[in-house]
C-alpha cells in the first residue's frame, strides 16, 4: 500500500499535499498546499487560498457548534492527493500519476494561515497513521 514518511517538528503535524478540483476524475487541476493533521476535527477543511486558486464554489452549508458559538459555515467539495515519486518517500512504484482520495465534503475558513488544509478524521480514518517520539510520521493509505 502507498505510504508517506516525513518528519514533523514542533507540536503540530504538518504535511505537504496536492488539492484537486472536484468533479471529473480526469481533471487533475491542482495546487500544492500544506495541511495540518487534526485528530480533533471530525471533518477536513480548506482555507481561502485553496478556494480562490481552484475557483471552488460552495454547494453546501452546515451548522458549526464550537466552544463559544454556533454558526453556519460554507462547505466545499475537493480532493486531496500525493505524488508518489522521488519527492515523497514511498514504497510504492514510482508513477507520474498522483494518488487521489475521493471527494471530501469539507468546511471552508476565511483567514489565511500557515496551512491551507485541515485533514480531519474523515480522511485519517481511511489511513494508518503513526507518530514516533523522534518526530517521524507515517501515513499508509489505499
Amino acid at each position: 500500500m502507498p505510504e508517506l514518511n516525513w518528519k514533523s517538528s514542533g507540536n503540530r503535524i504538518l504535511l505537504d499535499l496536492l488539492v484537486f478540483k472536484p468533479g471529473s476524475p480526469s481533471d487533475l487541476t491542482n495546487i500544492e498546499a500544506r495541511a495540518l493533521l487534526d485528530t480533533g476535527a471530525t471533518v477536513s477543511g480548506i482555507g481561502p487560498r485553496v478556494v480562490r486558486e481552484l475557483g471552488l464554489q460552495s454547494h453546501t452549508k452546515k451548522r458549526l457548534k464550537s466552544a463559544t458559538e454556533e454558526r453556519f459555515v460554507d462547505y466545499f467539495l475537493f480532493r486531496i492527493g500525493w505524488l508518489m515519486n522521488a519527492e515523497v518517500e514511498s514504497n510504492a512504484q514510482p508513477t507520474s500519476l498522483p494518488f487521489i482520495f475521493d471527494e471530501l465534503d469539507g468546511f471552508g475558513w476565511g483567514l489565511a494561515g500557515d496551512f491551507d488544509v485541515i485533514l480531519g478524521m474523515d480522511v485519517l480514518r481511511q489511513c494508518d497513521f503513526e507518530l514516533r517520539r523522534d518526530g517521524l510520521c507515517q501515513l499508509t493509505f489505499g
Partner: protein, 87 residues
C-alpha cells in the same frame, strides 16, 4: 462549468434547500443518515453514498450549477483546532 455559476443565486439556493432539509430531517434520519442529498428548488432529487457522486450528478442534471448538496445528519460538527481557538 463551475466557474460560470451565478454565486448569488447559488447562495439563495443553498440557503433555501438547507431550510427545507432541516424541516424534513426527522423523516429522513431513519433511512438516509450519512447519505448525501442532492437538492434543487426545495426538493430532494436523490440520495448518494458519496458527496462526489452527488456533485457529478448535480452538474449533469443542472448545468447552470444551481443546486445544493447536504449530508443527512443531525450531528453537531466539531472542528477540533478551531473549536477551541480563542476560548
Amino acid at each position: 462549468m463551475e466557474h460560470q455559476i451565478d454565486t448569488r443565486r447559488l447562495k439563495i439556493e443553498v440557503d433555501e434547500n438547507y431550510d427545507f432539509l432541516q424541516r424534513n430531517l426527522s423523516n429522513l434520519i431513519p433511512r438516509q443518515t450519512g447519505r448525501y442529498a442532492l437538492l434543487k428548488s426545495r426538493e430532494i432529487v436523490s440520495f448518494y453514498d458519496r458527496p462526489g457522486d452527488a456533485y457529478r450528478d448535480g452538474l449533469r442534471r443542472f448545468p447552470d450549477g444551481i443546486f445544493s448538496i447536504q449530508e443527512v445528519t443531525d450531528e453537531a460538527l466539531d472542528l477540533g483546532f478551531f473549536s477551541y481557538a480563542g476560548t
